[in-house]
Amino acid sequence: MAVSTDETQVQAPQPPTDRKPVVVVDDVHVEYKVFATGKRPTAADRRSNVLKGRGKQMRTVHALKGVSFTAYEQDSIGVIGTNGSGKSTLMRAIVGLTPTSRGAIYATSRPSLLGVGAALMKDLSGERNIILGGLAMGFTRDEIAANYDDIVKFSGLEKFIDLPMRAYSSGMTARLKFALASVQTHDILIVDEALAVGDRRFRARSEARIREIRDNAGTVFLVSHSMQSIKDTCSRVIWLDQGTLVMDGEPDEVINAYDTAQDQQP
């Protein structure tokens, strides 16, 4: 496997014939149309343009430029790349939160997406977030009752479970969300940097959970800047750079190539 140059096709790993494809990403392009406020005008611009106003300009950001790959069941795929390389856009496109401008994505089910940030329902306690989140994901009350203790134990938030989530730190929020979303072991789970705010113990535990999901025929996407996390959990790594898929393959190979490329940059 070699790092592709701009024009050559990315060499995908040989598709395993015995495993079921779960997510097929087919030549996906994502373009955002955004209003740019305009760059801060220089003195010269100010003289010539000030009366015309700093007009809003429509700018197109080409966030993904033709990404293709197939994820199979029991895959845990690490997604790496520099900031702004299109990782989160790709994940959001797989969930359907970002529409593709060209190409298409096919998936067996609609995945859960764990990102950094907002609590599910910040006015409600952790306990009620677990209950409502579980009901929303389609569990029955009995199933939630059966799993409730495990979820709380896994999150390690026994002492705070009756506090409203707006009182939680970002690490605590991430713990609760991960504990809840990872109950569905046979489905697709996307973790977008959500573990980065957790402490070491929680990270170790959630990595173990990701491996468990993978072993139970689930599929996990893990976006992370921690190469160690990715080496520990992933069976495959995708490297994105400026919206293109640079490399797709064995974790060690891709991470080494990525590290080398990073070191070469000034």
Binding site: Y106, L113, G117, R141
Partner: protein, 297 residues
């Protein structure tokens, strides 16, 4: 074979598509426990932040009635008032409150729950339905107060008071439909939520909460002090088909004594058509954009 055909053969669906309406509705029905739990939890958490807690469920409508009773009972007297004006006013204010609250909450159901919509996969329709259900659960104790008030004011309970059960059931369905339509519009176009306060206020002043549309615009016979007038038949006709006016008239006719509140039996038909029609349309209309909720494009 194209990739799309391949994917379909293996049971993969295109992301950004929506499930068939029938499956979708079944999915929503499966989550009725979510709708109920969410509305209950929200009521509790909203009240927890006040020191009077759940007492507010009862206090709020009482204060509302007090304020409106004072304004329209003493400050702004008028001659277009039907008999039993205070009861008339209370029923109007309480019933309208549910409409305006659930419309406003329904409109924000998707935009206010962005974090939930963006992280978990579930049929989004449960959110506006939960918002309306929450307001409905808050409406029920106010109905109790309303009935208690009617009795205190000297109206003995009548068997036909039972009619408010089908009336409010239809009213709930109507508000669900309205919330579904508004939630989708607000998801496309956030400004809708800014218009809602003006729209609810418009309906508050035009629907006949504190005056009787029939007395004000209907025909009048000549009396000693006034000549006979024809009134404004167009306005009366419009109000026959105005859903909130229909629900108010139905509730008043069920609860208040006297001939002045007997209504055209066709109101039952009109109100049912409004409720079921708007609900069915709302379900279809909301489902049509299922894949778009939560997007940030």
């Amino acid at each position: 074979m194209t990739i799309a055909e391949d994917a379909a053969r293996l049971g993969l669906h295109k992301v950004g598509g929506r499930p068939p309406l029938r499956d979708y509705v079944a999915d929503v029905w499966k989550r009725r426990a979510f709708i109920y739990s969410m509305s209950r939890f929200k009521i509790e958490s909203e009240n927890q932040q006040n020191s009077l807690g759940m007492f507010w469920v009862i206090l709020k409508p009482l204060l509302n009635a007090l304020v409106y009773g004072m304004i329209f009972g003493f400050l702004l007297p008028s001659d277009t008032r039907p008999p039993h004006f205070v009861e008339f006013l209370i029923i109007g204010v309480f019933i309208f409150e549910f409409f305006s609250q659930s419309w406003t909450a329904g409109g924000k159901a998707i935009t206010n729950n962005a974090a939930l919509v963006q992280s978990l996969a579930f049929p989004r329709m449960v959110l506006p339905l939960a918002a309306v259900t929450q307001r409905f659960l808050q409406f029920l104790p106010t109905v109790g107060i309303m009935l208690a008030f009617l009795m205190i004011a000297g109206n003995a309970p009548q068997l036909h008071w039972i009619l408010i059960i089908p009336i409010f059931a239809l009213y709930y369905v109507f508000n669900c439909g309205l919330a579904l339509v508004t939630a989708r519009l607000a998801a496309h176009w956030r400004d809708v939520n800014n218009f809602l306060p003006f729209l609810t206020r418009f309906f508050f002043y035009t629907t006949g909460i504190f005056f009787s549309v029939e007395e004000r615009f209907g025909p009048h016979k000549a009396t000693a002090s006034k000549e006979a007038t024809e009134g404004h038949p167009t306005i009366i006709t419009i109000s026959h088909f105005q859903p909130v006016h229909e629900f108010l008239s139905l509730a008043r006719s069920a609860l208040l004594p006297g001939n002045s509140y007997t209504i055209d039996e066709r109101y039952w038909l009109y109100a049912s058509v409004w409720s079921i029609g708007l609900f069915v349309f709302g379900v279809w209309f909301f489902w049509r954009a299922e894949e778009r909720y939560g997007r940030v494009d």
